[in-house]
Structures are given as structure tokens and as C-alpha cells.
């Protein structure tokens, strides 16, 4: 289980098809981990590409960190990871919060990102996104697990629930994540988004409450292609092979 040191912090990474000429780097979402890609999406991409997945700070098996959840810090972490692994340029894909990191990365370090794929990145100015952070409670988590995860068919057991609850509590009450996210409210309205020059693919669930964010990004990023996939915000779990194939085709052919 490779946990490498990046800026003196433990970062859990997984790689497939190491040694292939081109790399696809996959960024997961908030409260998730690299497993969202590991089982189906990464193996599809690994037929052609070197695939790198990593756990964001305090997520999955990466080290817990109290500060630095704003997009500037998160992209700084990603750049340091690429430097540590000697990766000059990559195709970049991010899901949900990871999609925001991917957008910021493409804008901030355009020479390091070849093509950009954004899956279900929410608009940080959307109340629904912020409410998830504001309304958190154990009752909320139980409600979430009972109802929201229905669409992914995944039910958590008691030990899993406790683990997840500990992660939520840590992130909400002991880190700056809440404060840092609120500072990103204007991100979609910023010139940074307008200036993204990479070939960009936007993948959103046809029934997702984030679809409006996808449409907004399509308007703002020149030449961006928006594809609606059957499902909701959980499309990487609901349609992993389809997502893998769409990414594979985009990174190969555009």
C-alpha cells in the first residue's frame, strides 16, 4: 500500500500500467477516496495510459492535515505530488470537489495539464452544495446513508458508519475545510474559469442537481464538450464502465 512522502506528509497513491508514455491523473471528491476509480474506471484507462490515483489529505489512507482545503492549497498539493513522481504533464480528471481541484489546476498550471475532464463538479456558490457542509449532524449522516446512498446501492454497516462518521467529524470540526470552501464561492464566476484553454470534457448526470453547474462551465470554457450520462451525482459509481470509456476516448482522441 504505497504511502509516499510529499512535502513531508503521507500521501496514499495507487498506480496502474506504470511506464506507459502518457499519464491520466484522477482526483476523487470530498469525503470519498481513490476507490471511486480503483475498481472499474482506472482499469479501463490503464489499457492505454499510466493511471495515477491519490487520496486527498485527511481522506482514504492519506495523512490527516488540519489546514489547507482551499483550491490554491489543494492544487499546490497536487503539483507537489506530480513533481515528486517526476510527472511533467498529465491528462487530468476530477470528480465533484476533485473536479474543482482539476479546474483550478488547469487554470493555475496550464503547462502541466494536457486535457481536462470534469465530472460532476458542483458550483461552490450553489446553496445546495454549501448546505451539505452547514447542515451536517449525525442525524443528517444517517439520513444520507439511508436515502442518498440508495442510488449507489451501497449500504454501510455499523463499523463503516463509525469510520465515516469519524472522518466527517474530523473534517468538519477539526480542520479548516468548512471555512476554506466558503471562500471559493466565486470560483465559477472568476476569470480563471474563462481562461481555461485545455480541451475540456464535462461529464454530468442527466438527473443530477449539479447539471446546472455543468451547463455553466460549458458556457464559460471555450470549446468544452458537455455529455449527460444516465444517473445523478453518483455517476462514477452508477456507470463506472461508461465513465471509464468516455474518459478513455476523450484522452485518446478528444
Amino acid at each position: 500500500m504505497p504511502v509516499i512522502k510529499v512535502n513531508n506528509r503521507g500521501v496514499h497513491i495507487q498506480e496502474l500500467n506504470k511506464g506507459s508514455a502518457e499519464t491520466v491523473l484522477l482526483v476523487h471528491g470530498m469525503f470519498s477516496n481513490l476507490s471511486v476509480y480503483y475498481f472499474n474506471i482506472a482499469p479501463v484507462l490503464a489499457k492505454e495510459f499510466h493511471v495515477l490515483m491519490y487520496d486527498l489529505k485527511s481522506h482514504g489512507m492519506s495523512e490527516k492535515v488540519v489546514k489547507g482545503y482551499d483550491l490554491e492549497s489543494m492544487t499546490g498539493d497536487l503539483l507537489a505530488l506530480m513533481d515528486e513522481l517526476g510527472l511533467d504533464r498529465v491528462h487530468l480528471a476530477g470528480y465533484s470537489f476533485g473536479g474543482l481541484i482539476a479546474l483550478k489546476m488547469a487554470s493555475r498550471f496550464p503547462d502541466r495539464v494536457k486535457k481536462l475532464a470534469v465530472i460532476e463538479a458542483p458550483d461552490p456558490n450553489d446553496d445546495k452544495t454549501r448546505d451539505i457542509i452547514d447542515d451536517y449532524s449525525r442525524e443528517f449522516l444517517e439520513h444520507y446513508v439511508e436515502n442518498f446512498t440508495d442510488t449507489t446501492k451501497v449500504k454501510m454497516g455499523k463499523r463503516q458508519m463509525e469510520r465515516n462518521h469519524r472522518m466527517y467529524e474530523y473534517l468538519f470540526y477539526e480542520t479548516s475545510i468548512k471555512k476554506d470552501m466558503l471562500l471559493e464561492r466565486e470560483f465559477f464566476g472568476s476569470e480563471e474559469i474563462d481562461g481555461i484553454g485545455q480541451e475540456t470534457l464535462l461529464l454530468y448526470g442527466a438527473g443530477s442537481n449539479c447539471l446546472g453547474a455543468g451547463r455553466l462551465l460549458k458556457q464559460k470554457i471555450k470549446g468544452a464538450q458537455l455529455l449527460e450520462v444516465p444517473g445523478d451525482h453518483n455517476i462514477p459509481i452508477q456507470e463506472p464502465v461508461l465513465i471509464g470509456n468516455l474518459l478513455d476516448n476523450f484522452f485518446k482522441h478528444g
Binding site: M1, Q14, L16, N33, L34, S35, V36, Y38, F39, N40, P43, V44, A46, D55, G60, M61, T152, K153, V154, M156, G157, K158, R159, Q160, R163, N164, I237, Q238, P240, V241
Partner: protein, 88 residues
């Protein structure tokens, strides 16, 4: 060493001895439902299998052919059967 013994050792390493002691792990034990492994623990478990058996098996390829239902219902017996068949 018997495949099932190797895999039980990996399960213990991933979820911890204190949880394993409370469980009656058998060939029908499902990773998500019975062992309550979450996805990142199944990643750890998979990596241990890949590191142990190396090129003898294509564990990533085998898993990648499964849909979510199959992954959720994956049990110890299915992995033992896959590994033993792949090595013979």
C-alpha cells in the same frame, strides 16, 4: 500455504485483529456485508493480493469486470476460487 489462510491473514491485517476475533469468517463471508469492509479497505486487501501473487493472477482485471452488485456481493470463497483457478 493454503489460499484461504493467506487471505484470512490479509483480512486481519486490513480490518484489525480485534474485529476479526468477533467474526466467524468463512467462505461465504461477504466483504461489504459481513466483514463490513469499506471501499478503501477493499483496495488495501486487493493490493495485498496483488503484491503476494504478482503476475500469477490478474486480480485488477478480474475485479474490473464486475459491476457494483457483484463487487458488493463478493465473498471470500469467490476470491479463493479465482486465485486457485488462475494459478492452476
Amino acid at each position: 500455504m493454503d489460499t484461504v489462510v493467506v487471505l484470512k491473514q490479509f483480512i486481519t491485517e486490513v480490518i484489525g485483529e480485534e474485529f476479526v476475533e468477533e467474526m466467524d469468517i468463512d467462505m461465504n463471508s461477504s466483504f461489504t456485508r459481513d466483514l463490513e469492509m469499506d471501499s478503501i479497505e477493499i483496495v488495501s486487501f486487493s493490493e495485498k493480493i496483488k503484491a503476494h501473487y504478482g503476475d500469477q493472477i490478474d486480480f485488477t482485471g478480474w475485479l474490473s469486470n464486475m459491476d457494483l452488485d457483484q463487487l458488493i456481493n463478493l465473498n471470500l470463497g469467490m476470491i479463493v476460487e479465482y486465485i486457485d483457478n488462475a494459478r492452476n
